[in-house]
Structures are given as structure tokens and as C-alpha cells.
């Protein structure tokens, strides 16, 4: 009967793997943001086509949108079930979300304006994404500031 733990503290931390891996965090945020932006871009191109599209082209647009949504789903699943975001990570992730929302909205607005259709829906959806990102950013900053204050109190 072994009455000592087999694993050292370092081995335990190493075995936490994906949960604390920086690479996994980057992969998760990238997949989510790129997937959502890609899905929005492809959908806009599809919906603002001036002429009716042939069946194969519609199928291609649908497949591309589904692939982008699948990547977004994968990123979301990683972030909610596998990867741990600590206070500093949440601030970075919220900034990435805000930047990506803004960039995607500007790109889509330029495309929509060029095609002369769908500008207002693009701006409306873009505003919602940007507002949610701002909310997340404010919350992440507030939480990090609270923890920094507490750390300072406990250190002195």
C-alpha cells in the first residue's frame, strides 16, 4: 500500500494540460473570433448578392458559413469547457473580441455600402457585437482591478 502521493506538485501542474495552457487559450479565442467574423462575412456576401445565385454557389456559401460556425462553436466549447481564463486573460480576450467586432463591422459595412444594400443590418449587428465586447471588457477590467487592489492590501 503506497502512503505517499505518486505525483509531485510540478507533475500535477503539468498534467493540468489544456486547462492552463497558453497555446490552448490562444487557439480557443482565435477559433471563436475568426469563426464568428468569417460566418458574418460569408453570410453578408451571400445575402447581398444582387442576382439570384445558381444552386451550387448557394450550396458553397452555405457550406462555408457552416464551417465558420463550426470553428466558432469549437472555440466557444474550448473556452467554456476546457480552457481556464484568469483575470489577465479575460482582459486580453475582451480586447481581442472588441477589436475583431470593430474590424469585421467596418469591413462588412464597406462591402455593404459598395454593393448598395444591407448597410443598416450590418451596422446594427456590428453594434450589438461591439456593445457585448465592451461590456465584457469593462467587467474584465473591473474584476482585475479588484484583484489587484486585494493583492496590494494583502502584500502590505
Amino acid at each position: 500500500m503506497s502512503d505517499q502521493p505518486r505525483l509531485s506538485a510540478q507533475e500535477i501542474v503539468e498534467r493540468l494540460g489544456t486547462a492552463v495552457s497558453r497555446r490552448a487559450r490562444i487557439r480557443a479565442v482565435t477559433a471563436l473570433v475568426a469563426g464568428l467574423s468569417g460566418a458574418a462575412l460569408v453570410s453578408l456576401l451571400w445575402l447581398t448578392e444582387p442576382e439570384p445565385l445558381p444552386g451550387r454557389t448557394r450550396l458553397a456559401f452555405a457550406l462555408l458559413t457552416a464551417i465558420c460556425l463550426a470553428w466558432a462553436g469549437y472555440g466557444g466549447w474550448l473556452l467554456t469547457r476546457k480552457v481556464v481564463l484568469f483575470a489577465a486573460d479575460r482582459v486580453v480576450a475582451a480586447w481581442i473580441a472588441l477589436s475583431a467586432s470593430t474590424a469585421t463591422t467596418v469591413l462588412l459595412a464597406v462591402i455593404a455600402a459598395g454593393r448598395g444594400t444591407g448597410l443598416w443590418p450590418v451596422l446594427a449587428v456590428g453594434a450589438v457585437f461591439a456593445a457585448v465586447s465592451l461590456l465584457l471588457l469593462a467587467r474584465a477590467h473591473r474584476e482585475r482591478a479588484r484583484l489587484l487592489r486585494r493583492r496590494a492590501e494583502l502584500t502590505t
Binding site: 502521493p5 505525483l7 510540478q10 492552463v20 484568469f86 489587484l148 494583502l154
Partner: protein, 174 residues
């Protein structure tokens, strides 16, 4: 450095603080798990506990209450493995209640104590481990086990009596 400071630093994302927290609590967590489960499962379950702790750490609102929170998670993992045993607890507790005397604290032989602990039903074993081996206050034990303080006290009394009975019986056999 206090546990609270370590937890706050880990919540901020300091990897070193997380490693220090694991280092500091590795043995208490393993001891609790090991006293509740066999040696084969203890390491795996302790690792599961740490994974759950890391996942839950950003949401821990009271870093000063880290220890009871940690053992609540450990208890959940252990309970999952012990569900079968908890379901059919032995009915012999009442008989054991009749026998009292000779304080358990006088016990010198740690190996004998650990053997005796292993023979107790899970609920009684758990409360002795938390209270005596992990040195947690009754209020924390109550929070971890999800029962009132009074229940912890009565469970402790029953556990001590059962332990005493077991030790007397093994001493008589020798």
C-alpha cells in the same frame, strides 16, 4: 505568504502562484482522498480534484475561504467514486454506540489508526479525516459536507465511538 494572497495572485493569472498553491495543498488533498479511497484510485482522483480546482478558481469569490472550498471539491470527487458505498451504509452503528471509554487521542500507533480509519463507513471516516488529519474547524467541516454544525458534532461522536470499538477489537485479537 497567506493562502488568500496566493489565491488572488493565481486568479490574476500568475502561474507561479498556482504552482505554489498546488505545492502547499498537494499533500492535504491527497491525504483526504487516500483516507477515503484505495491507493490505486487516490492519485487519479487527487488529479481530478486539482483540475476541478483550477477550473473553478476564477469564480472563487472568497479567496480567504480557500481550504473549505478546496475540500468541498475534493469531497465531490470522492463522493462520486463512493456513491455505491454511501448508498448501502452498514446498519451496525447503533450497536457500536453502546461502547464508550478510553480516548482516541491517546492512540500512538499511526499505522493502526490508519487501518482502523479504513474500516469505518465513509461518512464517519470522512469527518475524522477532515477534523483530525486536516485540522479543519467544525464550521468548515459542516460547509464541506453540506450538513449543519450539529450533525458534524454528532457524526464526530459516532465516528470516535466506532473507531474506539474497532481499535479495541483489533487490540483484543493481537
Amino acid at each position: 505568504m497567506t493562502d488568500e494572497l496566493l489565491v488572488v495572485r493565481a486568479q490574476l493569472g500568475e502561474r507561479g502562484a498556482l504552482a505554489e498553491l498546488v505545492s502547499r495543498w498537494r499533500l492535504p488533498v491527497w491525504t483526504y482522498v487516500r483516507r477515503m479511497l484505495d491507493a490505486e484510485r487516490a492519485d487519479d482522483v487527487a488529479q481530478e480534484v486539482w483540475l476541478a480546482v483550477v477550473r473553478g478558481l476564477p469564480r472563487l469569490r472568497e479567496p480567504a475561504r480557500f481550504a473549505p472550498w478546496l475540500f468541498t471539491i475534493a469531497r465531490r470527487s470522492v463522493t462520486d467514486r463512493l456513491r455505491g458505498e454511501y448508498a448501502d451504509r452498514p446498519e451496525a452503528l447503533a450497536e457500536a454506540d453502546a461502547l464508550v471509554e478510553d480516548p482516541v487521542e491517546a492512540l500512538a500507533d499511526r499505522a493502526r489508526l490508519l487501518d482502523a480509519l479504513a474500516a469505518l463507513p465513509p461518512a464517519e471516516r470522512e469527518i475524522l479525516v477532515l477534523f483530525y488529519l486536516e485540522d479543519l474547524p467544525v464550521a468548515d467541516c459542516a460547509q464541506i459536507c453540506g450538513v449543519p454544525v450539529g450533525t458534524v458534532k454528532s457524526r464526530l461522536n459516532r465516528a470516535r465511538r466506532l473507531l474506539r470499538v474497532h481499535l479495541e477489537r483489533t487490540a483484543g485479537d493481537e
